[in-house]
Amino acid sequence: MSRLYGRDVLLDDLVPRLVGLDANEPKLLRQAHPDDPPALLLTGPHGSGRTAVLDALARAYQARLPVAEVNCADGGDATAAMVANTSPVVDILTDAACGLCAPITGRKRLRLPRLWTGLAAVSAWTRGDAREQGVAQARMQRLLTECGLADDGDPRAGSWAQDVGALVALGDRSDLAPIADACVRLFSDRYLHRRQARDVQSFYASRLGPGRDAEPLAELCRAFHLGDDLREESEASLAAALLEDLRAHYSGWTHFNQTPRPLLLLDDVHSGHGSRLFGQFLAHRAQGARDPLVLVAAARGDARHRAGPDAAVRTLAQLAGGASGWRRPETGTPSAGVVALELPPLDRGDIVAMLMAGDPPPRPELPRAVRRFTQGSPLGCGLVRDAVAADPRAADLPGHDVGTLRLAGQPVTRRIAARLVPDAELRRGLVLFSVAQDDGAAHALADTFLTSDAQQAAVAAARIHLRTEHGAAADRPFVADPFLRAVLVHELRRRSPAPTEDPPQTWDAVHATLRDHHAGAGDPVAALHHTLALGDADEAVRGLTDLFAPPTTAEEWLRHLWHVASAPHPPRPEWAEECRRIARGAPGTESAGDYVRRCVHRLTHAVWLAADPLTAPDGTLCGRIKWELEQLSGRHVTGAGTLFDAAQEWHDELRELRTPPSALPAQDRGPGPGRSHGESH
C-alpha cells in the first residue's frame, strides 16, 4: 500500500510525537513522554496491516533518525541454532545495531560501544570450529561495515577472524576465554576510545554482579556459549547494553537539544525469540532504567493477551495526542511499560477513500461489496484495490461480484488466500474444511477426501493453525473468521479439483458428504444448509416450511432460517440473478404449495442472497426480507410478535452489513453490542 488507510494516528501523531520528529516535514515536535516512552505494541490478525505500519514508519524516518526494522520471525534458522556463538536474539540485535547506526542526514552516526563489544564477545568461537569462526567473521564484518566503524574497502573488516587468531597464543584448543578476550581487546583497541572501553567493562561488570565481574565480557561469552538460561541471561545483558548505549548517547547536549529519539521497529514479536527480546527490553525498563528508545513492536493476536496484564490497551482514537494520557503504572512489571493497540478493521470511509482514489472510479456499490467481503481487512482491501486498479473494466461490469476480480492473472481470492495462509499444504486443507460446520464435519471431510496418513492429521493441523494464527476461539463454524472463511469457500467453489485428489474435492461432493454427515448425526438444519449449498433450494424450503409449524418457536425458526440460508452459493454464474428474481417473486418463479410455503420460498432466496459474503444486499432486497417476515408473522401460531419485530431488525441489520442478533444462537449474541453486532457476516 502506498498509503496507510485508517492508521493515520500512528503515522501522523503518535510515533512522530514519541520520536519528536514529524513524519513528513523536517519539523521537530515536542517529545511526548520525554523520560519514559512507552513501548508500543500493535496487534491484529493476519492481514491487519501491522507490517505495513512498520514499513511506513521505517520509510518515513529512514536516514532522518536512527531507525531499524527487524522481523523477529525471520531468524531461527535451524542450522544456525546449532552453532554455539549465535542465536536468533543475537541476530535480531545485530540487525537492530546495523539499522540504528546507519548514517543520518545532518547528524553523527550513532555509536553503540556496549552492544558492539558484547556482540564481539559472544561471537567468540571455539578454536578450530570453522562454522563458528565463519559466523563470527560474517557478523563482525557486517557490524564493522554497516555501523560505519570500517570503510567499505577497509581490509581489516574482512580479516577479523585472522586478526583475532593472531592475537591468541597457542594453548588449549577447547578454551573459549582467550578468543573472547582477544576479540574484546582487538575491538576496543581498534574502534573504541579508552573511556568508552572503560564504560563497557563497568557496564557488563555491573550486569553480572559480584563474583563474576572479574572478566565480565569473557564471562558473558562463556555464559552465552553454555546455552539455556545462561544464554538468555547473556541475551538480556546485550539487550540492556543496547538501551544503555542509547541512554548514554542521548544524554547531555543531545537530550537538551531534543534530538529525535531512535526508533526500533520489531515485527512479529509473537515469535518465540521476538517475544523474548521484547520482554528483555521491557524487563530492563521495569527495573527502573530509562532510555530514549521508541520501541514499536507488532504481534499477531489479541492485544490484551499479547501485551500482558499491566499494559494499557488503547484504541486508535485514544492514542491521538501522543498517548498523552498514559503513565507508567506503579506495578513495576515489564508489561507496565507497554501501550497495546489492536489494529481495527478499515471502516467505511477508509475503504471508500481507498477504492475511489482510482481513475476512473469504479461503480459506486463496489466499496460496500468490498467492505462486506473483506470485513475491513487491510490486506483484503488492498489486494482488491490493486485488482480494481489493474483492470478497471472488470470491476465496472454490473452484476460481477468481488470474487471474479483478477490480479496479475490470478483470481484475487487466491492471492488473498495465499497471503493469509502462506503454507500451501495447510491452505489446501483449510479450503476443504472451510465449509465444515464443526470439527466433526471436518473430520468427516478428512475421512472422505484425505486418504493418505499424512493428511489424516490435517484437521488437527488446521485447527491448531486457526487457533494460533487467527485467534479462533469458537469451534463453530470450523473457520470462524468470516473473511478467511469467505475467501476459502470461494476458493473451494472456484477451483477445479487437482488430478492428484482422490476422490476429487468437487463442490457437490464436499457438500453431499457434509449433508449426509449432518443428516446421520441428527442435525437436519445443518443438513439443509448443505442441501441449499448444493443448489437444491426446493428441498431446503420444504424443510424450513415444515419447521415453521410448532413445536419450533419463532426464535428458533429465525435461527434455522439464517443457518440454512447462510449456505455458500453453488458455483453457478447465474445464481445471483436467479436468486434475486425468485426473491422478488418474478413471474414463473413461484413454487407450488400454500401461502407459507411460497413466502418461505421467496424469503429463503432473499436471505440466501443477502447472506452471501461476495455481494452486498441493497435496499430492495432488505425490503423484501422485511415484507416477507411481516407476512409470515401473521401465519405463525405463537411467534407473530417475534417475527414482526424481526422484520424490522433484519432489514436494518442486513442493510448495515451486520448479522441480525436474532439470527444467531443465544451464546453468540453476547451481553451487549459485542461480537455479533460488531462483526458483520
Binding site: P26, L28, G106, F256, N257, Q258, T259
Partner: protein
C-alpha cells in the same frame, strides 16, 4: 499579550527565516531547541555588539567631544588639545579663516599639559591653570562677530597666552575655547562647563583649576546673563570689548572704557573742534542690542540738547540680530543729514552699518551738490577702526562725499603703529602678535586683538600676583584671582599699584564703578587719517580736569 504579538511573532518569523530554514536546508534536518537557543544567544550577542558599536556613532552628535548640539550649532567648552573642534554639526574643524589659530592653541595647550604631566626634567615641571575664551565661534555677517573679528580676538588671546607661558612665572596657562553661539544666546553649556572646572577652594599641587574666563564680546543681554551666572559661581570674567554701562555683574571686569567715557571723550573733542555745530543722530533701532541703546542714551544725554538731537534724528534696522525689517536702510538718514546740512553726525550703531551710511551719504544728491569744504563728521564710540571702513573703496566713498569718522575707542592702531602716543606695552604686543599669531599692521586697527590680549593679561597678571602670596607650588583659585583683580589699582598721580600694564595702556580697577577700567586712555581716532596728523593726548577715564589720573 499584544506586545507579545507585536514583538515576539516577528522575532520568531525572523528567526525561522534567518536561522531555521537555512539550517534545515544545509544540514538536512531541523535545528533542535538548544541549537536555536544558542543561535538566539549568538544573535543577541551580535545585536548587542552591533548596537554597542553603532549607537554611539549614531547618537554621537556631529559635534566634537565636549560640545553639544543646540539649534544647529556646537556650543560648549572644548579643550582643543587632542582634536580640532568643529563648531558646526558635521563640519570638519572650525572656520578655515581662524582654524590655524585654533590648531596653534591646541598645540600650545598640549605643550602646557606635557610640561606638567610628562616633563623631560622633573625640575622643569610646571603647573598650569585654565582660562576659558568665550566667543561666538561661528562667524556670521549678521551675527555678533565676523570671522575676521573672531580671528583677531583669538589671535590676541593666543598671543597673550604665549607671552604668559614664555615669561618665567612658574605657571602655565591652558586656554579652553568656549562657543557661545552666533548671537551669544547659547552661552549656558559653555558657562556650565567652565564653572564645573573650577578647582576646590584651596587647589593643591597637581590640580589645574579654571581661574577665569575672558571674551564675552558683545553688549547684549545674553552676555550679562552669562556674566551673572559666572559671577554666581565666583568665576572672574574679563571682557575685552564690552562697553555698555547697562551690563554689570559682580565679577565681570571690563578692559574697554564704557560708552559714557567714550562720549566724554567725544565731548572733549567737540569742545576743541566745534565745527559748524549742526548735529544729527542716526541710531540703530534694535532694542535688544545694549550697545546701541546705551550709546544712544549717552549721546542724547550729552549732546541732545545742544544739537537738538531730539528732532534731528533718524533710525534704521541694524545688521546684527534677527530679521526685524530690511537691514541697514540708511538712505533716509543720509537724506536727513544732507538736507539739514549737518556736519556732526552721531551714530549709535554697529561698526558694519557704518559703511552703508557713508555710501548713502556719498550717493545722496543733496550732499553731492554740497559746496562747503567742511567734512561731514560721523562720531561714534567703538573698539577701533573697523576694517570694513578702511577698504580703498570705502575710503574713496568717504573722500568723495567729504565724510570723516571720529571713533572714540580704547585703541588707536594707526597712531600707535606709527609710534604716536603708543602705550608702553604696545611695542612688545605688536612683536609677539607678529611672531606668534602672524598678525600685524592694519589687522590690529580694529582693536579686537589688542583688547583680548589685554583681557588675557588681566587674568595672567592676576594669577602671577596671586601666586606670589601663596605657598610655593600652590595654585590660586578663582576667588584668589578675583580678589587680586579687584585690587589692581591706579593710585593718584599715575601711580601703578598692581595696575594692568596692557597693550592699550595702563589701567586699574576700583570699587564702586562697575568694574570699568580706571585711567584707561580713550583716543578719538579720525579716519581717513589726514596727512601729517598728530593725535592729541587722549582722554583718560576718571581723569581730573587738570589732566591727572585718577582725579
Amino acid at each position: 499579550m499584544r506586545v507579545i504579538d507585536v514583538l515576539v511573532r516577528p522575532a520568531l518569523w525572523l528567526g525561522r527565516t534567518v536561522f531555521v530554514r537555512p539550517f534545515t536546508r544545509l544540514r538536512g534536518r531541523p535545528p533542535g531547541p538548544a541549537e536555536k537557543g544558542l543561535a538566539g544567544l549568538v544573535a543577541l550577542a551580535l545585536v548587542i555588539t552591533a548596537a554597542a558599536l553603532t549607537v554611539p556613532v549614531l547618537t554621537k552628535g556631529d559635534c566634537s567631544h565636549g560640545l553639544e548640539e543646540r539649534q544647529g550649532e556646537c556650543v560648549g567648552l572644548v579643550d582643543a588639545t587632542y582634536r580640532t573642534p568643529s563648531f558646526k554639526p558635521g563640519a570638519h574643524g572650525p572656520d578655515p579663516r581662524f582654524a590655524p589659530l585654533v590648531a596653534l592653541v591646541a598645540k600650545e595647550n598640549q605643550r602646557v599639559r606635557d610640561a606638567w604631566e610628562h616633563p623631560g626634567d622633573e625640575d622643569r615641571r610646571k603647573p598650569y591653570v585654565k582660562v576659558a575664551l568665550l566667543l561666538p565661534f561661528n562667524p556670521s555677517d549678521s551675527g555678533a562677530m565676523t570671522a575676521e573679528l573672531i580671528q583677531h580676538s583669538l589671535a590676541g588671546a593666543y598671543a597673550a597666552q604665549r607671552a604668559a607661558n614664555t615669561a618665567q612665572t612658574g605657571v602655565n596657562f591652558e586656554m579652553l575655547l568656549g562657543n557661545l553661539g552666533t548671537d551669544l544666546s547659547l552661552w549656558r553649556p559653555a558657562v556650565d562647563r567652565a564653572t564645573a572646572m573650577t578647582g576646590p577652594q584651596k587647589p593643591k599641587e597637581g590640580d589645574a583649576p579654571l581661574v577665569g574666563v575672558m571674551g564675552l564680546p558683545n553688549s547684549v543681554q545674553a552676555t550679562e546673563d552669562a556674566a551673572r551666572a559666572l559671577s554666581d559661581a565666583g568665576v572672574p570674567a574679563v571682557s575685552g570689548v564690552l562697553s555698555s554701562t547697562d551690563i554689570a555683574a559682580d565679577t565681570l571686569f571690563k578692559v574697554a572704557p564704557n560708552n559714557r567715557n567714550s562720549v566724554d571723550a567725544l565731548e572733549r573733542y567737540l569742545a576743541k573742534n566745534p565745527g559748524r555745530g549742526h548735529g544729527y543722530l542716526v541710531w540703530d533701532s534694535r532694542a535688544k542690542d545694549k550697545y546701541v541703546t546705551n550709546t544712544k542714551k549717552e549721546l542724547l544725554k550729552t549732546f541732545g540738547r545742544k544739537y537738538q538731537l531730539g528732532i534731528r534724528q533718524n533710525s534704521y534696522v541694524g545688521t546684527m540680530g534677527p530679521y526685524e525689517g530690511a537691514p541697514h536702510a540708511v538712505a533716509a538718514a543720509a537724506e536727513g543729514i544732507c538736507r539739514t546740512d549737518s556736519d556732526t553726525v552721531f551714530l549709535a550703531g554697529r561698526d558694519w552699518d557704518l559703511p552703508y551710511l557713508v555710501q548713502a551719504i556719498a550717493n545722496d544728491p543733496e550732499c553731492r551738490s554740497r559746496t562747503t569744504k567742511d567734512p561731514i563728521r560721523i562720531l561714534r564710540v567703538s573698539t577701533g577702526l573697523t576694517s570694513r571702513l578702511t577698504t580703498p573703496e570705502s575710503r574713496r566713498h568717504m573722500e568723495q562725499a567729504g565724510v570723516v569718522t571720529l571713533n572714540a575707542a580704547p585703541t588707536d592702531g594707526p597712531s600707535w603703529r606709527a609710534g604716536q602716543n603708543a602705550p608702553g606695552q604696545f611695542g612688545p604686543f605688536a612683536a609677539v602678535m607678529e611672531k606668534e599669531a602672524g598678525l600685524k599692521g592694519a589687522a590690529l586697527d580694529d582693536g579686537y586683538a589688542i583688547m583680548h590680549y589685554d583681557a588675557f593679561r588681566v587674568l595672567s597678571q592676576a594669577v602671577d600676583d596671586a601666586r606670589k602670596e601663596l605657598a610655593a607650588r600652590r595654585l590660586p583659585s578663582e576667588q584668589d584671582v578675583t580678589n587680586v583683580i579687584r585690587n589692581m589699582r591706579m593710585l593718584p598721580g599715575d601711580t601703578c599699584q598692581g595696575c594692568v600694564r596692557g597693550a592699550s595702556g595702563d589701567f586699574g580697577y576700583t570699587a564702586g564703578n562697575g568694574n570699568w577700567p580706571v585711567c584707561k586712555a580713550v583716543p578719538v581716532v579720525e579716519f581717513p587719517r589726514p596727512k601729517g596728523y598728530r593725535p592729541p593726548k587722549p582722554y583718560r577715564t576718571d581723569q581730573a580736569a587738570n589732566g591727572s589720573c585718577p582725579g
